[in-house]
């Protein structure tokens, strides 16, 4: 049985992690947030719920995922590099952990429908998968721009029986998909759960999603200690909203490991953002002088979000975790190097975390260090885009 994660602590009763978090939603949604908080609190204290959650993740989700040591890349970099292989989980990323948890909770609350937002499509595909497994109706909100960039994922969701609703407001990307899903939730809250995909939004989502993702951090702690005889010196993860990072950090927050989050350079809410309120939470946001939200831009649709989960803003403020950035070109290099040297094609998102490691090995990461990277997703969804970019740069014919 899993115990609630105490290492990164529970938020305050109103959902605050230090100065970040809270619950900034219109009154029609407040009762739904309170209901969800009560339902999750009750379920997470129930051993039977944990048993069901872990059983589904084991028999259906492919857990536990292994930890792989990268021998060739380690030798070249002068460090010892381990990967937590969330790319091997069902649907190809860590997103399955959260959606199984929320879909089970949806049923427990007696609701029959789930809605979800998606950027690149990973969370949308995972949500459609969990809904199919548990017999729930599922509608996925996806920015119109992203439905075109990720047309195959739209088809995958539809194949799984979900409806995909293209969002045409604002920048027509992830931020607008979140907004539209929230608007829909207001109108359909009686029979519908909003299955939010990351550690963001109003309380209890940032806490609940971290708890569902903490299973990967606990596994990784045990596995890396077994391989290394100790915790790794560095634990590194990419951060958009920050769910995979929250999951792995939670397994090491009470250890000596240095925690490093890597954001996309064009969506770096910690490096370039300031505090503000969006989508129900106080966090670090990309915004202008007046408080209008800016759009994020990166090679990875999954990191195209102008904010970050509030607990990450708090971890940055306290210094427990450090946040850095990686740009599009170094991400492309990292993706190719891991593919060619280790036989693993990473998704563009974790390729950001790897790019930071490649850049900092022998610098911020002293030679001889042990490093655990959360390989949050596989690169299949990105290969067509990567080919186009490499062709455009004349690097592939």
């Amino acid at each position: 049985m899993t115990a609630p994660t105490e290492s990164m602590g529970s938020p305050s009763s109103e959902g605050w992690f230090g100065d970040f978090g809270g619950r900034f939603v219109p009154e029609p949604l407040m009762p739904a947030c309170l209901e969800l908080e009560a339902a999750f609190t009750e379920a997470w204290a129930d051993p039977a719920f944990h048993q069901e959650f872990e059983s589904v993740l084991s028999s259906f989700g492919g857990r536990p995922t292994p930890v792989t040591e990268c021998h060739r890349l380690s030798e070249e970099l002068g460090i010892r590099l381990l990967l937590k292989r969330e790319d091997l989980a069902h649907t190809g990323s860590h997103k399955i952990n959260n959606v199984i948890g929320q879909a089970l909770l949806t049923k427990r609350m007696g609701k029959t429908k789930m809605i979800a937002e998606t950027g690149a499509g990973q969370h949308g595909v995972a949500s459609a998968t969990a809904a199919a497994l548990l017999g729930l109706e599922c509608t996925v909100y996806m920015g119109e721009v992203d439905t075109k960039r990720q047309a195959l994922n739209v088809f995958r969701m539809e194949l799984l029986g979900a409806k995909v609703h293209p969002v045409t407001s604002g920048s027509k990307t992830l931020k607008d998909a979140v907004g539209e899903a929230m608007r829909t939730w207001v109108a359909e809250v009686d029979d519908t759960h909003y299955c939010l995909g990351s550690v963001m939004g109003p309380h209890p989502f940032p806490w609940m999603v971290r708890e569902f993702q903490s299973i990967l951090g606990r596994e990784a702690r045990g596995q890396s200690e077994k391989i290394l005889g100790d915790v790794p010196d560095f634990v590194v993860a990419c951060v958009g909203g920050g769910s995979n990072a929250a999951g792995i950090f939670s397994g090491f927050a009470n250890s000596r490991s240095q925690l490093i989050g890597v954001e996309a350079l064009g969506g770096a809410a910690i490096a370039s953002g300031v505090p503000g309120v969006l989508h129900g939470m106080m966090s670090q946001l990309l915004q202008d002088e007046e408080g209008q939200i800016n759009e994020a831009h990166s090679i990875s649709a999954g990191l195209d979000y102008p904010g970050i989960g509030p607990e990450h803003a708090h971890l940055a403020a306290t210094g427990r975790a450090t946040y850095s950035t990686a740009g599009d070109d170094e991400v492309l290099d990292a993706l190719q190097r891991l593919s060619q040297m280790e036989g693993i094609i990473p998704a563009l998102e974790p390729a950001h975390a790897l790019a930071w490691i490649l850049k900092e090995a022998g610098r911020a990461i002293p030679t001889g260090s042990t490093v655990l990277l959360n390989m949050s997703g596989r690169g299949d969804k990105d290969v067509a885009q990567v080919r186009e970019i490499l062709q455009a740069k004349g690097l592939y014919q």
Binding site: P26, R183, E289
Partner: protein
């Protein structure tokens, strides 16, 4: 500034047996938006809600979202809108509706003070929940600005009581579970939410979200003290109705409310 204060004015109107009509428009949604404000006042509005455009309005449907995009593209900022509002003569109160991030960025005291300076006596911030409103509430009270709170069909009676106790100006009863926008029919939830809050407060209760035409405005005001009409007006303005068309629409609502409300 000779504009009456929001709560004082609305309470007086209700005491005199009048039903309240509160139209909404987006600041900066057209070149002549200030003329529209004047026209609405002359056509019988009891107060006017002015939207300050925000990039991510999660309480608003497609029409008001579009108006926000138009206003932002025209370069509207909170300050440009407020200073323009300060420049006009008006004999009814103004209430600003926007999202909390703009206020948080500006600073609570600075923003509340600025509202007071330009003669805006009320403020609606739909995403600032009861639990998170203390800092803003203090600043607004110091500046003499009423913070109007929302109550929804889903709100429990206990929460509704706390909201009624904290709301100033009027109580904004959300007439249906959903975002702003025109609807073919008035929801049965209007009667439910009004019946829930009426025994809890002496504040005027105005129903908004989904009030689209004269018949619906009359229907809503037969139950509550007033109606807020947003998307139906904003859509007409986006379609180019101008101040005259806006005045004509508001007059028709006024007449329906006074006859049947």
């Amino acid at each position: 500034m000779s504009r009456p204060h929001l709560e004082t004015h609305l309470r007086t109107q209700v005491a005199n047996g009048k039903k309240l009509l509160v139209p909404y428009l987006m600041a900066g949604q057209s070149d002549d938006w200030l003329d529209v404000v004047q026209a609405l006042a002359e056509a019988g509005a009891d107060a006017i809600e002015i939207g300050l455009p925000f990039s991510d309005p999660i309480m608003d449907g497609p029409v008001i979202q579009e108006a926000a995009v138009v206003a932002l593209e025209r370069g509207t900022t909170p300050e440009s809108a407020l200073s323009e509002l300060g420049s006009i003569e008006l004999e009814i109160p103004l209430v600003v509706m926007t999202y909390y991030n703009l206020i948080f960025r500006a600073g609570h005291d600075r923003f509340a003070g600025r509202l007071a300076e330009v003669g805006v006596s009320g403020c609606i911030l739909p995403d600032l929940s009861l639990e998170e409103m203390d800092d803003w509430g203090r600043a607004a009270e110091c500046a003499g600005v009423d913070t109007v709170l929302l109550v929804a069909p889903s709100t429990s009676i206990e929460r509704a009581q706390m909201i009624c106790d904290r709301s100033r100006g009027f109580l904004y009863a959300v007439g249906r579970m959903g975002v702003t926008g025109e609807r073919a029919e008035i929801s049965h939830q209007v009667a439910e939410v009004v019946e829930k809050v009426k025994p809890l407060t002496t504040l005027p209760v105005c129903v908004g979200v989904g009030v689209s035409n004269p018949a619906q405005a009359a229907q809503v005001t037969s139950l509550a003290d007033g109606a807020v009409v947003g998307s139906a007006l904003v859509r007409r303005l986006l379609e180019g109705s101008g101040p005259e068309g806006a005045a004509e629409f508001i007059s028709s609502l006024r007449q329906a409310i006074d006859t049947h409300g």
